[in-house]
Each structure stands twice: as structure tokens, then as C-alpha cells.
């Protein structure tokens, strides 16, 4: 109990910051309102420090060091996301207030916007430290609920309302499915505690076979969590929602729900454990087949559909779908034999790739968020069409190079971060003897080259737009977003060279402690549905 509390200190710190930010955002004075993003950043740094300080405290689930790695990473990437969303809310309202109109708190969304970012990150941290099905469900909801609102209020166009409603209803559907799965797991084991579940499942596997209710529960949970990571049967919302929300919120959506989904998938797969099959190092047959099919379909569909898009946000949305498919390969491969190094450990590969995907995609979305189109009547619109990026490397070198490096990184070109992330996925897949899946992964990386290279080509080689009537592309007045892009560009190059510490950290985070096999017959409770 008390160790659980120590584990939760980063979340508590972040939550308190959230509350303060929410109140400060309603202040009458502009100087106080302007404190919001800075305070949010300080909260994130403090909670990252707490996560590092309490690194010795482990959760009692099968991945005991996942909270430590997860929270450190969330704080790091969270800071970049905070820069990316800076200035998203209240632009018109602040302009009015600057002209001398009284500030109207009821119309303001700035405090809410930053506190929703922090709420969502708090939920994401809770996902890593959850040791109970109920806590995991609440954490997933805490991650998602703020994002529904953020999508709706990100722009004042109807499009983002539509996107928000779509996202909300499909999100509720996904939540219902995985909650049903959680209920099945409870029905098959009689407990909601992760440690007890994994022990019971290990006992069941040793004596006859895992209860089909548990397998059904895990399968349903994986399908439902597929919504969070945008994997194939639940991917339909992704392009519409990304296109409907503002570029910076789309960047937020690309990392946070996906990370929550993968942390939850790792926890749920950890319940049944990677100790089944012929090699005794894979998931039980049902979840494994499901994940196999979903992974293959997700990467193929994501990449093929991305080729047909002209909207940059839709391209990035389909690329987000495809990357979920890549990461599922690591989940299937599992931790490998005990004491396996980084190359064979699929979980470490997933954890590492999650960060590198987040960093690279933030760069791409930051470029979009930094630009806006000015129409002839003076109104501003988001940059979305791929033609708007023509010759960006010549007209705006920093943004152009960020886009080029981000897309090259997402493609996985050798000297960059994406390559370093994808390589362990390949080796882990081969180590787990999933040769066909690794082949699919390889072919998909080749398909993906088409649209990533097109993005880079448009920015780098084509000449800038010269049509006289076309809306003019101008830079948005948010320095922080540009910094998010620059940091992402530095990370794409720098982490590829000096990234071994992150790899080691991911390896610690992926420490797998298989459930203890029991025991004399007296200690094994015969499995039945819970007594009322």
C-alpha cells in the first residue's frame, strides 16, 4: 500500500500542478494567465525528477520497471508536446483582451487546455503504474477524456466539433469493448489484481489449460485497446480526427493515446505472460494469432492508404496507423529468453520505438503547426495540403529541414533515430521465429518510402509555390512550436548517435518477471467464477 503511494508520487505532483494551472488560467490579469504553460512545464519536470528519485520502487506486475521508464519518457516527450500545443487556445480572446476589452473567463479555454494536457499525461503515467484492472481502466479513461475535449476546442471551426464527436463515440465504443474484456478476465480468474491474475493464469496453464474466459477477455481487451493505438479494426477514426483537430493537437493525439494503449497492451499481455507455445516464449495461441493478423493488416493498410493522400495530416495519420502495426511485432516477439539482450527483447524494442516515434512525429506536426495560410480576406487557415510545403527547405530552412529529417526518420533511414528504433523490432521478430511477419514489416517499410520521400521531396527539391491567387503561407507567431520542431530535429539526429542510454533505459523498463509457477495442489485455488 505505502509502496504503491511512493510509486504514485509523480502522478500526484502532476495532478496538483494541473489543479493550479486550471485555476490560474481564469485569472483577470494577463501576466498570471501567461504563467500557465511555464507552470505546467515545471510540474512535468518535478514529476520527472520524482520518477527518477523513486526509481528503486517497482510495481508488482510482471513488468516491474515499466513505471520508471514510462514516467521518465512521458515527462520528456510531454515537455515537447507542451511546446507543441503552446498558444493553441484563446487566440482571438487574448487579441480582444489586448485591445482593452474585459477578459471573459467563461469564454476562455486556455487554463483548461493546459490542464487537459497535464490530465492526459497524468492518466498516461497511471497506465504505467496500474497494478489492477480497475485502476488500468480509470487510467485509460483519464488519458482519453481530456483528448476528446481538446480535439473539439482546438480550432473554432465546425470540423473540429465533428472530429471531437466522432472521436468521443468511437472512443466510448473502444472503452466498452476493453472493459468487457477486463470483466471476462475477472470472471476467469476471480481477481482484478495483476499479480494474482498472472499467478492464477500460470497455475491454470500448468494444470490443463488457461480458462477460455481469460483468453476471450485478453482478446477483447486487445481489440478494444486497438482503438487507442489505432490498429486495424478500430483505425477508421484516425485520419478524420487528425484532420479535424489543429495540427498541434493532432501531434498530441499521435503520441499520448498510442503510448497509453501500448502500456496497457503490454500489461494485459503480461497477465497471460510470454511463456507459452512450443518455445515457451510466446503468448498463448489465441492472443498471438489475433495480434499477428492485426499487426500485418495494420501496417499494410496504413501504408497503402497513406500513399493515396494529399493532406499532410492524413498522411501522418495513416503513418501513425502503420507505426502501431510495426510496434505490435515487438509485442508478439515478447521479452525472449530470460537475460536476453536488447536485440532479442521485443518489449524493450516497443518501449524504445514508442519514444522515437513520438519524437519524430512531433517534429512533423510541429512544422505544420508553425505554418498557416493567409487568405485574401485576411482570415487564417491551417496548412494541410502537401503543396503548401513546396520548397519549404529553401524559404524557411529550419522548418523545411525539420520536416525532411522527421519524414526520413519515420521512414527509418539508417543514420537516423527511426532506423535505430526499427532494427530491434526486426531482430526481436526474427529471434521469436516470426519470419513471415518480419517479411511483411520489411515490405511495408519499403512501401512507406513512397510517401515519406514525397514529403521530403516536396520540401527539399520542388520550387516554392508561385501561383498569384493561392493563399499565402505565413509563419504562426508561436516561438515555442518552432522550438518543439528544432528539439525534435536534434533528437532525430542526436539520439541516433548518443541514444544508447535510452536503449539501456528501455531495457530496464522491459525487465520481465514471469509469474511464479506454483505449487503444491493445496496452494492452487481451483479456478471458478467469482462467488457473489
Amino acid at each position: 500500500m505505502e509502496s504503491m503511494l511512493t510509486l504514485l508520487w509523480p502522478e500526484i505532483a502532476l495532478f496538483i500542478t494541473t489543479c493550479v494551472v486550471m485555476i490560474l488560467g481564469q485569472s483577470k490579469f494577463k501576466d498570471t494567465r501567461d504563467l500557465c504553460p511555464g507552470l505546467a512545464a515545471i510540474g512535468l519536470i518535478v514529476s520527472g525528477f520524482l520518477a527518477w528519485y523513486f526509481r528503486g520502487v517497482t510495481s508488482d506486475a510482471v513488468l516491474p520497471h515499466l513505471p520508471y521508464y514510462g514516467k521518465l519518457v512521458i515527462c520528456g516527450v510531454g515537455l515537447m508536446l507542451l511546446m507543441l500545443v503552446a498558444g493553441s487556445a484563446d487566440r482571438e480572446l487574448e487579441a480582444d483582451a489586448a485591445k482593452g476589452k474585459p477578459f471573459e473567463p467563461i469564454r476562455s479555454t486556455r487554463g483548461e487546455f493546459y490542464s487537459f494536457v497535464l490530465f492526459s499525461l497524468t492518466g498516461l503515467m497511471l497506465c504505467t503504474s496500474a497494478n489492477d484492472l480497475i485502476l488500468l481502466f480509470l487510467a485509460l479513461e483519464l488519458t482519453s477524456l481530456p483528448t476528446y475535449v481538446m480535439v473539439s476546442i482546438s480550432t473554432n471551426r465546425n470540423r473540429s466539433m465533428e472530429a471531437g464527436v466522432k472521436y468521443f463515440f468511437l472512443g466510448a465504443l473502444g472503452a466498452a469493448i476493453f472493459l468487457y474484456g477486463f470483466a471476462m478476465i475477472y470472471g476467469g480468474t476471480g481477481t482484478t489484481n495483476f499479480e494474482d491474475i498472472s499467478r492464477t493464469v500460470a497455475a491454470q496453464a500448468a494444470g490443463g489449460g488457461i480458462n477460455p474466459l481469460v483468453i476471450l477477455g485478453v482478446v477483447l481487451s486487445l481489440v478494444g485497446l486497438g482503438f487507442k493505438i489505432a490498429s486495424v479494426p478500430m483505425h477508421f477514426y484516425t485520419p478524420d480526427v487528425y484532420q479535424g483537430s489543429s495540427s498541434s493537437v493532432a501531434g498530441f493525439l499521435a503520441f499520448v493515446p498510442k503510448a497509453a494503449g501500448f502500456f496497457a497492451i503490454l500489461s494485459i499481455c503480461g497477465l497471460v505472460g510470454w511463456s507459452h507455445g512450443v518455445t515457451e516464449q510466446s503468448l498463448p495461441e489465441g492472443p498471438r494469432v489475433l495480434l499477428w493478423v492485426v499487426a500485418a493488416l495494420t501496417m499494410t493498410l496504413g501504408n497503402v492508404l497513406a500513399i493515396m493522400q494529399r493532406s499532410v495530416k492524413r498522411i501522418l495519420a495513416y503513418s501513425s496507423i502503420a507505426h502501431s502495426g510495426y510496434m505490435l511485432v515487438g509485442v508478439i516477439a515478447g521479452p525472449g529468453p530470460s537475460g536476453a539482450d536488447f536485440e532479442r527483447n521485443g518489449i524493450a524494442a516497443v518501449l524504445f520505438y514508442l519514444v522515437s516515434y513520438g519524437v519524430m512525429t512531433i517534429g512533423a506536426f510541429a512544422v505544420l503547426a508553425c505554418l498557416e495560410k493567409k487568405r485574401s480576406d485576411g482570415s487564417l487557415d491551417e496548412v494541410d495540403d502537401i503543396d503548401d510545403l513546396r520548397g519549404l527547405a529553401r524559404t524557411r530552412p529550419v522548418l523545411g529541414w525539420t520536416m525532411v529529417l522527421s519524414s526520413m526518420g519515420l521512414l527509418g533511414l539508417p543514420p537516423l533515430l527511426g532506423f535505430l528504433g526499427k532494427l530491434p523490432l526486426f531482430t526481436a521478430g526474427i529471434g521469436a521465429k516470426e519470419i513471415i511477419l518480419v517479411l511483411v514489416l520489411g515490405i511495408n517499410s519499403a512501401i512507406a518510402a513512397y510517401y515519406y520521400l514525397r514529403l521530403a521531396y516536396t520540401c527539399f527539391i520542388e520550387s516554392p509555390e508561385t501561383t498569384p491567387n493561392a493563399p499565402k503561407v505565413v509563419e504562426a507567431p508561436f516561438a515555442a512550436r518552432r522550438w518543439a520542431g528544432v528539439i525534435s530535429m536534434l533528437c532525430v539526429v542526436g539520439l541516433a548517435v548518443f541514444g544508447s542510454w535510452l536503449g539501456n533505459l528501455a531495457e530496464i523498463g522491459a525487465t520481465y518477471r514471469p509469474p511464479k509457477y506454483v505449487q503444491p495442489a493445496a496452494a492452487v485455488v481451483p479456478v471458478s467464477a467469482p462467488t457473489p
Binding site: C19, M22, Q26, P105, G209, E285, G286, V527
Partner: protein
């Protein structure tokens, strides 16, 4: 690649599953059957033995004994919605505080456990206070 169900083909396992799992759902089944039967009996009962007296007054809409003054499709002041939200905050707080207050005296006073319980509820009250302050700053209680 074996299919998922192949794991459980042992007859002994299937038998034990049927015996242990389904029997514990019998009360639920009985409850569902009772609920459906109750509904059907009520509907048919009032159809068969209920009196039928119709008239303009009977079919008129009323609320708590008052005659209706207009259509229900009217715009409400958004303030009612905000007040309802603030009410919910305190409503939920009471719901959680009550069982806590009933349980708390049963813990040994001054022990680590009781302190943690106290800290938990204080943290919860803190969140409610934040919600209240947020409402005030947002101008929910300004009735101009």
C-alpha cells in the same frame, strides 16, 4: 498453427468448466427471468384488468399538478446547466464522504493506516475545493 480453442479440448477440463463456471451464474439468470416476467405480467395485467377512461383533460400534459403554460422545447438559461454541474460536484462528494465517515471510526486511531485514510479523503476534498474555486473564477455564481 493450431486454433485457439484446441488448448481446451481435454474433456475433463470442459466438464469442470461447465460445473464450476455456469452454475454461479444461475442467480443472475433467475433474476433476469424474474425481471422479464414481472414486466410482461404488468403490461398485460393493466391491458386486461385496467379501466379505460379517456378525455381531453386526461391526455393534457401537466407537471406536479400544474397545467402546462407552454411547450417544453424552450431555451433554458445556460446558468441552470452550470448550477447543475456545480451541484454534481458536491453531490458526488457527499456520496464518497458518507461511507468513508462510517468506516473511519472502525480503524485504530493514530495508526499509519488511519492516517493514510485521512490523507486520502483530504486529497479528495482538495479536488472538490479546486472544482469549486474553478467554478467561482469561471463566474458560475454571478447572477447579474
Amino acid at each position: 498453427m493450431a486454433m485457439p480453442l484446441a488448448i481446451h479440448s481435454e474433456p475433463a477440463f470442459v466438464a469442470s468448466l461447465a460445473a464450476s463456471d455456469l452454475s454461479s451464474y444461475v442467480p443472475v439468470m433467475i433474476l433476469i427471468t424474474m425481471a422479464i416476467t414481472f414486466g410482461i405480467i404488468n403490461v398485460f395485467g393493466s391491458l386486461v384488468i385496467g379501466p379505460r377512461r379517456d378525455g381531453p383533460t386526461k391526455s393534457a400534459a401537466y407537471e406536479s399538478g400544474m397545467n402546462a403554460v407552454g411547450t417544453a422545447r424552450k431555451r433554458f438559461n445556460v446558468r441552470f446547466y452550470l448550477i447543475a454541474m456545480v451541484f454534481l460536484v458536491f453531490d458526488i462528494e457527499i456520496i464518497f464522504l458518507y461511507p468513508w465517515a462510517v468506516t473511519f471510526p472502525n480503524l485504530a486511531q493514530g495508526t499509519n493506516e488511519s492516517l493514510i485514510w485521512l490523507a486520502r479523503i483530504l486529497f479528495f476534498v482538495f479536488t472538490t475545493v479546486i472544482a469549486y474555486v474553478y467554478g467561482v473564477r469561471k463566474g458560475v455564481f454571478k447572477f447579474d
